[in-house]
């Protein structure tokens, strides 16, 4: 049984020039104790997907326009009332944001921000909540935690802030943590520390983590399985090593090829020419087709095939490319 299972999720954003389908029929699932990575470039809908799970659209005019978000033991989050969803947030599913500076209320002391989540879901005295917050900070290896409780966010360094945000997310031992680019704003040595922290958490408590990132390296480093998104859709998903070592979708291939470090210093990198399509009026057919070097006439005509395995044998490594369908037949 999956912990979280997403089927055909559609999320729409209103913009001055029309309605943008930032998430257009996304499906994936996350198993208990698994770190699931979602990668893609900016604007591909990876962040919107995760925000749609808890309906946290950052005040943007957005809505879930279709699909189901099944959380084990709770049901379809997409069908829940805002009030019911509030019960789930923080308790069953926690969220970690990209920029720890903006994710913390600048005018509230750290301590209160942490105890807030505890006191929301448990009837507990102020003192006990504070003690719990202190323990949480220790758990995420914050030095001199007593002092930090009475600090304001701007008085902490970036790494410390992200630890505080993680402590908040861990407060009620949620079964699932959704982390939206949790290390993008951090320096690489600190990123390393934070990723270890998340992994340690999973290893100790079996917490599932959905990790959103644009950095394939990060996925490679800590994820078990992954999905690659392009223009609002999942184009490929599977176990991390399989996807990264033998990518089957041309987009994944191109993305990897564009990275320095994949080729020798004397070879040129292979950038992806062109730009991602508009999400307001996306092209019919495969959305990557206009930039795809392997594109066929068929690619732009019909809708792309559903995710399917290249070798016909489902090891969970599936993609949505027509070429693979032609070669190996439907899954």
């Amino acid at each position: 049984m999956s912990l979280l299972s997403i089927h055909d999720l559609v999320a729409e954003f209103d913009s001055p020039s029309g309605i943008a389908r930032a998430v257009d029929g996304v499906s994936f699932d996350a198993q208990p104790g698994e770190i699931f990575g979602i990668v893609g470039e900016s604007g591909c809908g990876k962040s919107a997907t995760c925000r749609a799970i808890l309906r946290l659209f950052g005040g943007a005019p957005a809505r879930i326009a279709g699909g189901r978000i099944l959380l084990d033991g709770v049901g379809d989050l997409a069908a829940l009332h805002e009030r019911q969803l509030a019960q789930v947030r923080g308790r069953d599913v926690a969220f970690i944001f990209q920029d720890p500076l903006t994710a913390l209320n600048p005018t509230m002391k750290i301590g209160r921000q942490i105890t807030e989540v505890i006191r929301r879901h448990q009837t507990i005295t102020r003192a006990k909540a504070r003690a719990a917050a202190l323990q949480l900070l220790r758990d995420v290896h914050v030095t001199s935690p007593e002092r930090r409780l009475d600090s304001y966010p701007h008085e902490l360094s970036g790494g410390l802030r992200q630890r505080v945000v993680i402590a908040m997310a861990l407060a009620l031992r949620p079964r699932l943590i959704i982390a939206d680019e949790p290390t993008t704003a951090l320096d690489v040595t600190v990123q390393d520390q934070i990723l270890r922290l998340l992994k340690e958490r999973r290893d100790r408590l079996g917490t599932s983590i959905i990790l959103i990132t644009h950095d394939l390296g990060v996925v490679s480093q800590i994820c078990d399985r992954m999905a690659v998104m392009y223009a609002g859709r999942v184009v490929e998903t599977g176990p991390v090593r399989e996807v990264l070592d033998s990518p089957s979708h041309p987009y994944t291939q191109a993305l990897l090829a564009a990275l320095p470090g994949q080729v020798g210093r004397e070879q040129a990198l292979t950038p992806i020419e062109g730009a991602p399509p508009s999400l307001i009026s996306p092209p019919p057919g495969c959305r990557f087709a206009p930039r795809c070097k392997l594109a066929q006439p068929d690619c732009v005509i019909g809708p792309p095939p559903p995710l399917h395995a290249r070798d016909g044998v489902s090891s969970g490594h599936v993609d949505a490319c027509i070429l693979n369908e032609v070669a190996y037949g439907p899954a």
Partner: protein, 320 residues
């Protein structure tokens, strides 16, 4: 080909002193952004400068083009101390943010023509547009781009326009301050390729500032690693990545996630960059260094390595 030579360059920013500080005759407090940097940029090289945020790499870049003055030491360019941007435009710069690096109210063509007109005042007006088209072609942009306003371009295109603008005066050295950090990986490759091509084909010297070890490793011939305003290690790219000597360099490389690497990692370094106002007196990395000893509390000198390289750690050089 002119040479750029940093000699014990210092840059410190005075911390704003209040009235009370003055009354109390407290000493001025300085933030040392750059400290004792010795660096020689050879013609035709791509020199990388890497480091985490706040290490002083951007300040160094600005000193290198004359945007800022050094407080100590000097920058020698073409045999003379550099006092401000080069009048002949031989030193140019590309900035990080593709969105604020172009004037939003002027067309691309006009912005470039302005530069061409400034450096080649004798060029007839009619030929300026042609020259601009040439330069645009050089950075792989259509001539029609000249008619567009910056907002009509994608991030990658803008960054190419920025490079085009820097190319207009026909520079010898291009300082690129994190030119690809704001770009997606797929677009990033275009800019990297472009820089590489400019270096190979035109012999343009490039100082490439970045925090991305992978990019630096791929692009640069020589790499300087900075930590808290100091260069801690300077080596040929291959040597540096193949055999990093300074503990910080090692930690930095180890921390970079690699698509090819599975989940196991080396031991990470602990802590974060110290408060720049309270830097350790001795080795600046000592507070986080797994190898730190008492001797590390002495100031560290740059010890020579093979070639023109060096490392600022007494433990890094084999004792043989």
């Amino acid at each position: 080909m002119a040479q750029l030579d940093f000699q014990r360059v210092e840059r410190r920013f005075p911390v704003k002193r209040g009235l009370l500080d003055m009354v109390a005759r407290r000493d001025r407090v300085y933030l040392h952004a750059v400290r004792g940097v010795d660096l020689r940029v050879s013609p035709g090289d791509i020199l990388g400068i890497v480091g985490e945020s706040g290490c002083g790499k951007s300040t160094l870049a600005r000193i290198g083009v004359g945007l800022q003055q050094s407080d100590g030491g000097q920058v020698i360019f073409d045999g003379r101390p550099l006092a401000g941007p080069d009048p002949a435009g031989r030193l140019q710069m590309v900035f990080q943010d593709p969105y604020s690096s172009l004037n939003p109210r002027i067309t691309i063509g006009a912005q470039l023509e302005e530069v061409v007109a400034h450096y080649f005042p004798k060029l007839p007006r009619a030929k300026r547009a042609a020259r601009v088209s040439e330069i645009l072609a050089e950075v792989s942009l259509d001539p029609e781009t000249a008619l567009k306003f910056p907002h009509a371009l994608s991030g990658g295109q803008r960054q190419r326009v920025s490079i085009a603008r820097a190319l207009c005066p026909a520079p010898e050295i291009l300082v690129a301050d994190e030119p690809v950090s704001a770009l997606d990986a797929s677009v990033q490759a275009q800019i990297i390729n472009l820089l590489k091509r400019l270096n190979r084909e035109k012999g343009l010297t490039i100082i490439f500032i970045s925090h991305d070890m992978n990019v630096v490793c791929y692009l640069c011939d020589r790499v300087a690693v900075m930590y808290l305003g100091e260069i801690v290690e300077l080596q040929n790219s291959q040597d540096l990545f193949g055999d990093p000597r300074h503990p910080y360099t090692r930690a930095l490389i180890a921390a970079v996630p690699d698509v090819r690497r599975a989940q196991s990692l080396a031991e990470p370094i602990t802590g974060e960059i110290p408060d720049p106002f309270a830097v350790p007196r001795g080795c600046r990395f000592a507070t986080r260094c797994p190898l730190a000893e008492t001797a590390c509390q002495n100031p560290q000198e740059m010890l020579p390595l093979g070639g023109a390289g060096g490392v600022r750690c007494w433990k890094a050089v084999p004792s043989d």
